[in-house]
């Protein structure tokens, strides 16, 4: 009997695993994101207690939270607030290079058909950590929660937020 049923079970296992593998989406948060400069959220948000929205200032006003303009970095790093400029921050305190860019790598990427906007969530008093995890304890930001539809829907159900598909997909 086993001679037939074992291979069958194996085939089913393989099919099942394939289905599960493919039902994952390529835009899941990436664990391996390395930023171009060794920026530490732990130092900024944790040790120095800089509020999230000091840098990610658009979160309450816009779809995107936004990455801080270099001017914002220079605000502290280039002025007297910090005792001196650490070597790693030198490139962008050099005002002679206005076109200097930091090309941050995105940790959280949503597909185009998900129209997530930060604005209502921040205004509803959801802590950033709710989705992004305890960023203030991370040197390098890695995703803690798997941001998928179930994650959104769970919270929306709990908080009686809109469960209309078109609220996010349009």
């Amino acid at each position: 009997m086993n001679r037939i049923f074992l291979p069958l079970a194996l085939v089913w296992l393989i099919i099942g695993a394939t289905v599960i593998a493919f039902s994952q989406r390529p835009w899941l948060p990436r664990m391996d994101v390395v930023q171009p400069i060794p920026f530490s959220h732990r130092v900024h948000a944790g040790l120095n207690k800089i509020p999230c929205q000091y840098c990610h200032e658009y979160a309450r006003r816009s779809e995107n939270a936004g990455v801080p303009p270099i001017e914002r970095c220079v605000g502290c790093h280039g002025s007297g607030i910090l005792g001196g400029i650490k070597p790693v921050t030198r490139p962008w305190t050099d005002h002679t290079q206005p076109s200097f860019e930091i090309r941050w790598n995105r940790v959280y990427v949503l597909p185009d058909f998900v129209k997530f906007t930060h604005r209502p969530h921040i205004n509803a008093g959801i802590a950033c950590q709710h989705c992004h995890g305890d960023v203030q304890n991370m040197d390098r930001v890695v995703p803690v929660k798997e941001i998928n539809m179930g994650f959104c829907v769970d919270c929306h159900t709990k908080r009686h937020a809109s469960l209309d598909c078109v609220s996010c997909h349009h």
């Binding site: 001017e71 597909p111 078109v166």
Partner: protein, 968 residues
């Protein structure tokens, strides 16, 4: 624009946002974040920014509000502050963004080599070349430099003067292809005015249009459309409910004629006699105003040859109809006659009609104040071109006009340009004229540059750039000023931006810098300064009035008539794919030109449908496919302008024929010899049948019924009172709905263009339209009535998703991609769709669209995409959801501000664009909303499409209105 933002980061940010929007379905979105170096205080990334500006697509002077996303202008809407547009915008205006992002725009300066090839050169070389030639020309003598341009506003005119002055020339040729010279001459003759009057259709009760397509291209389509809708809205006049009564006298049924009550089909050229016959009847019956200041006796002698009976004999228009027109005109409380064309006697008659009935100062006004200078007259134009041929011009700078394409052969434009040793072309998309130029300079699109316009007294619009340049272009004014700066040291300004600012500051408060700053902010915010000018007093003098020759018009030979296309106009719109793909409202043809020919004439000439007709005049020959239609007079063959480009970018090239090639300068009509060639080219239309087959799709009712309060029999079959098997769902917060006034809808398709722009609808091209793959979520549904009596001339109405409460499309979807939202919408979740297409099969209105292929935009047209709307990939069904992204935006804002969504806060794209305000959107739960009130106030006219199916649409249409035929 954010001035502090670095150019590179803008381009990159734009690129990030675009890739995100342009990638459908499964591709991972952009993976990089690039921060600003210094943030712009006025811009919130991820949120739209709005800039007021002015529209440069035609001379009407509408204001626009550009929606800018991350530095990219995505959509244009009307500017509510501007009294001409009052928040609405036409299809052509909206397509300006496609001009901006046109993939065929010239990106770098080009020089033509000896063998005719174009080579790219640097701006420095180009400017050097230009100034060298200019210097040489001005050294050779006076007036050896000429500039041909469009009427580009007062500031640009000053820059032009400065430039020409620096090179010792006065040759400023302002060129408009569609001439209104006859109207100007008539105004000059009668009133001594050099400007044209302004019409107030809303004040009128009767309109007679003598071949003036005032709802389409003549005058100002947005303003006239709005006025016409008011004129047609049922309202109390002299204690009786009535709607305006409109007559259209002309050889073909255009969109304007379709919306009028009576289309008086006349042979081309017979309009004037009819107009004078109406005048005859008015005078004979003394339906004239006592204090019009017109010498009636003199008038009586002038009109003596135009007794209605006699004119009826000569033109074939029934005398009774002429008398009815006169009666309606003379006995109404406010009337207006409009005219178009090159026949001065026709314009005279129209002006006199308005004058004798006392309507000057009421429905027709000459405004007091500085009026825009007229474009070059035919004589001046001829003179300038002769000068070129005679070698009197060394350098010709052509800015933003296409004389080679739009000038009839009699002007010999191409030959003239060839004789000019150095032709400089400045513009965006290289055209036929650019083909003859030695130097091609890419200039900024109007949306990229500073400009202004003064379309009429009291209105001055300011155009500010709404987006950064997308090519290596420069403002045309800057080029002229830079060239002038080489030889002249005391220029008032260095750049166009300076010039515009200086000119505008001169209009505001002086000596107070704070007030000046405030003024400058205000005009930029409002897009101009607007005042309400008084009507200038005019006195009519009939001296020198030419009456039409009282010849026999009915038996005249076959006449070719051409007319500006509602979207492509004289050809300048042909490079914009939206305008090519949106079907012409009356004939529903896309991507081609057609020859309207009466079935009788076609039969006589043996011409079949779609057969190429060879149209031969003394000036040339064109071949156009036949559109056999009863809506054109048997004596006429009508071909629209616009197509027939040889060099105007990929969207315009090699389509249709150019009627400019066979007419004479100054006229759009000419005697023609037509014959079938035996070859044929199918005219492409997305429309199936033109016959409604008695179904309740577009309904109409007569004024009499409305007055009596009778609900007319609908096209619908008798259905038993719907019996609900299941309890209705409750919509606790909102239930979105729409009211569409079919009576107000003219078919102008501004809503369709708005939908294309807002919802990232791809343009599929002629072949795919033919295959039935057009992607428009919204369309103008057009039907011909099956009866001549008691029906509108043509039925038109916007057709879009009806958001049915009992939507047939929803329960057939196996995966809930189509479902009903909690706010009563027919949601469509694109990423859930597997593409069974069952929903579209089950949609009785056929308003769903399937992505047969991956959508595609030629770069950089994709910069126009709206990031709030997903771009749908291949295999996905898509449809209108009442601009759900705008609803979401407003609801989120309201929630954050802790208040309910206000009525009118959400404006759908179609509603916002509609010039006639035919569309209103609102909450059906809120009985006080403007949308619901409109329903209630017009309860007799309410109907829903295909109501017998009990789909319970959220769109309630208001029936079209008509006067019963034969009744004044």
């Amino acid at each position: 624009m954010p001035e502090g933002m670095s150019r590179r980061s803008f381009i990159k940010l734009a690129a990030v946002a675009t890739t995100a929007a342009a990638l459908p379905g499964c591709e991972p979105a952009a993976r990089k974040l690039i921060p600003y170096v210094v943030p712009d205080e006025n811009v919130t990334p991820g949120m739209p920014t709005y800039y007021a500006s002015s529209c440069s697509e035609c001379g009407a002077g509408c204001g626009i509000i550009a929606t800018v996303r991350e530095g990219r202008a995505t959509t244009l809407a009307g500017n509510p502050a501007n009294p001409i547009s009052l928040g609405a915008i036409c299809a052509r205006g909206q397509a300006a963004v496609q001009g901006l992002y046109n993939p065929d725009r010239l990106r770098d300066p080009m020089r033509r080599t000896q063998n005719g090839r174009l080579v790219q050169i640097s701006w420095d070389d180009a400017e050097q070349m230009l100034t060298k030639r200019l210097a040489a020309a001005s050294k050779a003598g006076k007036d050896r430099v000429a500039l041909m341009r469009a009427p580009d506003g007062p500031t640009f005119a000053k820059i032009t003067k400065t430039f020409l002055g620096a090179y010792g020339s006065t040759q400023d040729i302002v060129y408009e292809s569609v001439s209104v010279e006859a109207a100007r001459n008539a105004a000059q003759t009668l009133f001594g005015r050099t400007d044209l009057p302004v019409y107030k259709l809303s004040e009128a009760e009767t309109i007679i249009s003598f071949d003036s397509d005032f709802l389409e291209t003549a005058i100002s389509p947005v303003e006239m459309g709005r006025g016409y809708a008011e004129f047609r809205t049922p309202k109390q006049r002299r204690g009786e409910l009535s709607i305006g009564h409109a007559f259209y006298v002309g050889p073909r049924m255009n969109m304007t004629a379709a919306k009028c009550d009576d289309w008086v089909a006349v042979a081309p050229g017979a309009e004037a006699q009819v107009a004078w016959a109406v005048l005859h009847e008015l005078v004979a019956q003394r339906w004239v105003s006592q204090n019009s200041g017109v010498d009636l006796d003199e008038l009586t002698t002038m009109v003596s040859a135009y007794d209605p009976a006699a004119v009826s004999q000569r033109t074939g228009v029934s005398a009774d109809l002429i008398r009815r027109m006169a009666q309606a005109f003379g006995k109404s409380d406010g009337a207006v006659a409009l005219a178009a064309g090159d026949d001065e006697s026709l314009h005279l008659a129209a002006y006199i009609l308005n004058a004798v009935t006392g309507n000057i100062g009421r429905t027709m006004n000459f405004l007091a104040g500085p009026t825009p200078p007229p474009p070059a007259s035919l004589n001046d134009l001829g003179g300038a071109l002769t000068a070129m041929r005679d070698g009197k011009i060394d350098v010709l700078v052509i800015n933003n006009v296409n004389p080679v394409f739009t000038m009839p052969p009699t002007l010999r434009a191409a030959e003239s340009l060839q004789r000019v040793p150095f032709v400089v072309w400045m513009g965006t998309v290289p055209d036929e004229t650019a083909n003859m130029a030695s130097l091609l300079l890419p200039t900024d699109h109007p949306l990229e540059s500073w400009r202004d316009s003064a379309p009429r007294p009291g209105i001055r619009t300011l155009g500010q750039p709404v987006t950064q340049r997308i090519a290596e272009s420069r403002p045309a004014g800057d080029l002229l000023l830079a060239a002038a700066a080489k030889v002249s040291t005391n220029l008032p300004w260095k750049t166009t931006a300076d010039a515009v600012k200086a000119e505008w500051l001169a209009l505001g408060p002086q000596n107070d810098t704070d007030a000046q700053t405030e003024f400058w902010t205000k005009v930029r915010r409002e897009g101009g300064i607007y005042s309400n000018p008084t009507a200038a007093p005019v006195k009519l003098s009939t001296k020198g009035v030419k009456t039409p020759p009282p010849g026999d018009a009915a038996s005249a030979e076959l006449t070719f008539i051409t007319f500006p296309h509602i979207f492509l106009y004289d050809g300048r719109g042909a490079d914009k794919p939206w305008l090519q793909e949106i079907p012409d409202p009356v004939n529903q043809i896309v991507w081609d030109s057609w020859a309207e020919i009466n079935p009788d004439t076609a039969k006589k000439l043996g011409i079949a449908k779609d057969e190429l007709i060879e149209l031969k005049t003394e000036h040339g020959v064109i071949e156009v496919p036949a559109l056999v239609s009863k809506y054109v007079h048997p004596n006429a063959i009508a071909v629209p302008l616009g197509q027939g480009h040889q060099a105007y970018g990929r969207y315009a090239n090699n389509r249709g024929a150019n009627p400019w090639q066979i007419v004479a300068a100054g006229s759009m009509r000419i005697t023609v010899a037509a014959r079938g060639t035996g070859k044929s080219r199918r005219l492409i239309t997305p429309l199936g049948k033109s016959d409604m087959m008695g179904r309740s799709i577009i309904e109409a009712m007569s004024l009499t019924d409305l007055q009596k309060g009778i609900v007319p029999p609908t096209g619908e079959q008798e259905a038993p009172k719907p019996w609900e098997m299941y309890p209705q769902y409750a919509y606790n917060v909102h239930k979105w709905g729409m009211t569409i006034d079919v009576n107000a809808c003219t078919g102008c398709s501004a809503c369709v263009a708005a939908c294309y722009a807002e919802n990232n609808l791809p343009v599929v091209g002629k072949e795919l339209v033919d295959e039935g793959r057009i992607m428009s979520w919204m369309r103008i549904e057009r039907f011909f009535p099956d009866t001549d009596e008691n029906a509108p001339n043509i039925y038109v109405t916007p057709m879009l998703c009806q958001q049915c409460n009992h939507a047939p499309c929803e329960p057939v979807c196996p995966v809930f991609a189509a479902y009903h939202t909690q706010e009563g919408l027919n949601g469509q979740v694109y990423n859930r769709c597997v593409g069974t297409r069952y929903c579209e099969n089950n949609c009785p209105y056929k308003v769903r669209r399937f992505n047969w292929y991956e959508p595609h935009w030629d770069e950089p047209l994709d910069l126009q995409l709206n990031p709030d709307v997903t771009v749908r990939g291949a295999g996905v069904m898509e449809k209108c959801t009442f601009c759900i992204q705008r609803i979401q935006h407003a609801e989120i804002t309201a929630r954050i501000e802790n208040r309910p969504v206000r009525d009118g806060e959400i404006v759908t794209a179609c509603e916002g664009a509609c010039p006639t305000r035919a569309i209103s959107f609102g909450d059906m739960n809120d009985k006080e909303s403007a949308m619901m009130k409109r329903r209630d106030e017009n309860s007799l006219r309410n109907y829903v499409m295909l109501g017998e199916l009990n789909t319970q649409p959220a769109i309630v249409y208001l029936r079209d209105m008509y006067h019963e035929k034969g009744k004044a």
